[in-house]
């Protein structure tokens, strides 16, 4: 559909959240929790941390929660019984105030979970989420969205995008039919915007640092470049923090929890950085050392996903670098692959 432009007053944001709440929509938005900013359910505008550069965790948990029940069963003398866990049991939800990199991060998850056989736990939640992103007026040294095809005002993956254009006014871009449907519920707060608003004036300046096609090409050819992966990962302690904050990482584990009578099977986030991730019962491990696990991380995102799912598994949000306890910086590593590797 053709994009529509509207104006919303900052002073009406509070009313907007109230409207969503009164219509029964759960609203997920960035919330300060001590030193971290989580994406959590909110009741009103004053809970929302709209001024933060980026939430600590990505927005992916809206459709791919950290912990999710996929099975429920009882243990009885007469035999185990299962009770259906319905993936469709999820309310239409509004994801509010996330950044463009989070909104576009869903395209990687869409590709992984949308492949046959489809994962309805993810697809139902994603399908029922309407995403209102806020473009980025500022960026920091970890951001590199523009190097992987995104940008501070990238609208891919968003249903609506808000951009502050003055102290009083927000430019509202209505981008999808889902966004249009939601916007209709607060049409009274919107006025028409002129066509001549130059959104780019209000966006952060994020310099392109590498050519993503080159990085993809070089990564794809570098499986056997042992020295490269070793050099890049010498510092890595395999803590998995990078995967847990990443908007596109989709690897998961299953664990059962039960008492004597009943139990659940849970799906939980996992990380290819952990040595246990691929360990066989025999003791054999196909990815025995950290450099092989780092290679998997980079190759999955920059070689296997582009080739098989036609999407680069990175949004340039820089969260992995911010979260890394040993200061590994993915922007620098990717730049190095682009510059140093000879194909």
């Amino acid at each position: 559909m053709e994009k529509q432009l509207k104006i919303l007053k900052y002073s009406d944001l509070s009313k907007l959240i109230e409207k969503f709440r009164s219509q029964g929509y759960p609203v997920l938005a960035p919330v300060r929790k001590g030193k971290v900013v989580e994406i959590e359910q909110v009741q009103s505008l004053d809970e929302i941390a709209l001024d933060v550069l980026l939430s600590t965790q990505s927005a992916k948990k809206a459709a791919f929660p950290k912990v999710e029940k996929v099975l429920e069963y009882t243990l009885e003398k007469s035999g185990t019984k299962q009770f259906p866990v319905d993936p469709a049991d999820y309310k239409e939800t509004i994801l509010f105030g996330v950044r463009p990199c989070d909104a576009s991060g869903f395209k990687s998850l869409d590709a992984i979970f949308g492949e046959e056989p489809k994962d309805q736990f993810y697809l139902e939640k994603k399908g029922k989420s309407t995403i209102i992103s806020f473009s980025c007026p500022v960026a920091d040294e970890y951001c590199f969205c523009t190097s992987v095809g995104g940008g501070p005002g990238n609208t891919a993956g968003s249903d609506l995008q808000f951009t502050g254009i003055s102290k009083e006014e927000i430019l509202v871009e209505i981008l999808t039919e889902k966004g249009e449907k939601l916007a209709a519920t607060f049409a009274d707060l919107l006025t028409d915007a002129g066509k001549d608003i130059d959104k780019s004036k209000f966006l952060a300046d994020v310099k392109v640092v590498f050519d993503v096609d080159g990085v993809v090409e070089k990564t794809t050819a570098s499986f056997n470049n042992t020295a490269l992966w070793l050099e890049q990962s010498l510092r890595c302690i395999g803590c998995g923090a990078c995967a847990f904050v990443c908007p596109t990482c989709a690897c998961f584990d299953f664990q059962d929890e039960q008492n004597t009578k009943k139990g659940v099977r849970l799906r939980l986030w996992d990380s290819c950085g952990f040595s246990l991730f691929t360990l066989h019962t025999s003791g054999h491990n196909p990815r025995e050392v950290q450099s092989q696990r780092w290679r998997q991380r980079i190759m999955h995102k920059f070689a296997y996903m582009p080739e098989q799912l036609h999407v680069v598994g990175c949004e340039g949000c820089g969260r992995c670098s911010r979260a890394c306890p040993v200061d590994m910086n993915i922007k620098e590593h990717l730049t190095a692959i682009g510059e140093k590797v000879i194909v």
Partner: protein, 279 residues
Amino acid sequence: MDQQNIYQPYLMEIEKITEEAPMVKTFRLKFKNEEEGNNFSFHTGQFGEYSVFGEGEVTFCVASPHTRKGYIECTFREAGRVTSELASLNEGDTIGFRGPYGNIFPIDDWKGKSLLFIAGGIALPPMRSVIWSCLDKRDQFKDITILYGAKSVADLVYKDELAEWKERPDVKLVTTVDPGGETPDWKGEVGFVPTILDRMTPISENTIAIVCGPPVMIKFTFPILEKYGFADGQVYTTLENRMKCGLGKCGRCNVGKVFVCKDGPVFTRTQLKELPDEY
């Protein structure tokens, strides 16, 4: 099974338990829901996720042939958390099963050819499904030869079936145990699988070789096959890697860009050579 929930297993009743060897058991599993059982089909080479509720899931092949309907079988060695729990269960108990997953042995393409099965230890189960599927259509193939080795006589699995194959005039069965693993009344060969294979001087012409076994056996068996002129496309094997979902999503069984669960577990040696060293 709920088509919406791809992680929901079928409930299976353990109908029969066979003690195969020390720490090795075979379960015959029956669908608790008859309709699910009637609608279920698989092909030889495929695998599934077997679950002990409360402990989790474990990956094995379906060890029974796809030509036998109404049940599936799995053979496993007690090795980790879930298999230990499995081993403690009794006939009549319930477990879960998700599957079938993965690709298949293209036995229809092998019509008119001779088949050489080479298996070691606990790797006979994935091959047993293929062997019986082929024996059930015996007239479609030329010579069928089975070479099976284990550490010791006690470690040989499917002893009844080995005896049956031994008796069959249309199957050539060679069994061997590692040096030191023989008993006084052992009538089979003594020696490692590759050594015995070499002694058998296999004929590669119009023959498919199917090799399943521990990595070290495979490593030394391939050169012997090569010595007798087996081209890479004539040699099949199965890979195993740690898995959780079995559906190409959880992200751990990949070898380079190839998912063992989805693109495998059956590979020709040609395909194997194209894979990076990550299995």
